[in-house]
């Protein structure tokens, strides 16, 4: 028998599975409902052989999100990235555990258009009782799992991994399963993101979300992303918030890059550097389109 305070020699899969179980243990103790998504929670029928994850992912009610992070931090996790700084969708917080690695706590799922708590309730209503690392955990049913994979693939820039995910989860799905997924897509108002994942985004060219998903799928400059986020925002107030916040420095990301909490001077330098990078990217993009070398 080997007893170790580290996980040296243990597979990443094993650590992530125990990470799911550890999160479940903490949140169950706090009375917080949690759906375990992606990675080891996925039904083998919808994943390709050799698929591995690098972190644990869970979904909680938006209304439970802050308390979830607080409970995990109190139990030993380190907050590495806050919801506000996670992505253009501000959808997740990333925490680190010295033994189990990263966990992404999702408070909503990019691509789902209905209220996040209502979306959680819909996925929870049809959840399946599973087991991860010997601990009972709730996971979405098969249509829910397929949808989560597809929505994630839509944000993955058309990577080979995301193409494999789409092929396994949707490409080889039976007509019945596809019908179930499409029904869920409609219930969750996820048509545009679903179209982005399955190659039909141009069918939704006139929607406010189209440009943002096009950038998620195909990439774009920072200015293009800012414009797309403003356009995608549901209403003037939300659009204004996005426009004002867009140039702000992602302090959490800067800390991760530099390996230490950034100093005020570094934050200020990054504030001015970001708009310059955006301008530079747009200039190069314009020169590329004009054929200039």
């Amino acid at each position: 028998m080997v007893v170790t305070a580290t996980t040296a020699g243990a597979s990443l899969d094993a650590r992530i599975a125990i990470g799911h179980a550890a999160v479940q243990h903490v949140l169950a103790g706090a009375g917080i409902a949690v759906l375990h998504i992606k990675g080891p929670t996925l039904d083998p029928a919808i994943v390709w052989t050799g698929r591995h994850s690098t972190d644990a992912d869970v979904l909680v009610r938006d209304s439970d999100a802050r308390r979830t992070v607080e409970e995990l931090m109190a139990a030993g996790w380190d907050l590495r990235s806050r919801f506000e700084n996670s992505s253009a969708f501000q959808h997740s917080a990333t925490l680190w555990h010295d033994l189990w690695g990263y966990v992404d706590v999702h408070r909503c799922f990019p691509g789902i258009g209905i209220d996040p708590d209502a979306a959680f309730e819909r996925l929870w209503a049809s959840h399946v009782d599973s087991e991860i690392a010997g601990v009972p955990c709730a996971v979405p049913d098969l249509p829910g799992q397929v949808l989560v994979i597809l929505l994630h693939a839509a944000r993955s820039g058309g990577s080979p991994r995301s193409r494999d995910d789409v092929r396994s989860a949707w490409g080889s799905a039976s007509p019945q399963r596809r019908a179930e997924v499409l029904e869920l897509v409609e219930e969750l108002d996820a048509e545009v993101a679903f179209a982005a994942a399955t190659g039909h985004l141009d069918d939704f060219r006139d929607t406010r979300e189209h440009d943002l998903w096009a950038i998620s799928l195909r990439g774009g400059t920072r200015f293009q992303e800012w414009r797309a986020r403003v356009k995608a925002a549901p209403g003037l107030a939300a659009a204004t918030r996005v426009a004002v916040r867009a140039p702000l420095v992602n302090v959490d990301h800067l800390a991760m890059i530099r390996g230490h909490p950034p100093t005020r001077r570094e934050v200020v330098a990054e504030f001015f550097r970001r708009p310059l990078r955006g301008l530079s990217q747009s200039w190069h993009s314009a020169r590329s389109r004009s054929g200039a070398r």
């Binding site: 028998m1 080997v2 243990a10 094993a14 125990i18 550890a22 139990a75």
Partner: protein, 102 residues
């Protein structure tokens, strides 16, 4: 078959690992939420598995059988009992009476 007397506590996670050349699966075991993680391999893994499937009184017999009777249950009884005591002390196993909750 009488009820098991040893069980894995609900706050202990377990993940099977690869099998060794004798076909014995390795196990990663960890109290939740913060470990430490324990790696059980070989005979340790066999004792763990057999402890969970039958009465503790016959555990040495089951382990000896898994080892192909190259040793007798009498030969290993004390060591097996000491190992289970160690796992219980670490919180990785617990002893219970039939009818206990959980």
């Amino acid at each position: 078959m009488s009820l098991p007397e040893i069980r894995r506590p609900t706050d202990v996670a377990i993940v099977p690992g690869p099998a060794d050349e004798d076909g014995v699966e390795l196990h990663y075991v960890a109290p939740l939420p913060n470990g430490p993680m324990v790696v059980l391999s070989g005979t340790a893994s066999i004792i763990w598995q057999e402890a969970l499937v039958g009465p503790e009184a016959a555990l040495a017999e089951r382990v000896a059988a898994r080892l192909g009777h190259v040793v007798s249950e009498d030969d290993i009884r004390d060591e097996v009992a000491a190992f289970v005591d160690d796992l219980v002390a670490r919180g990785l196993l617990e002893r219970h009476r039939a009818g206990d909750a959980g």
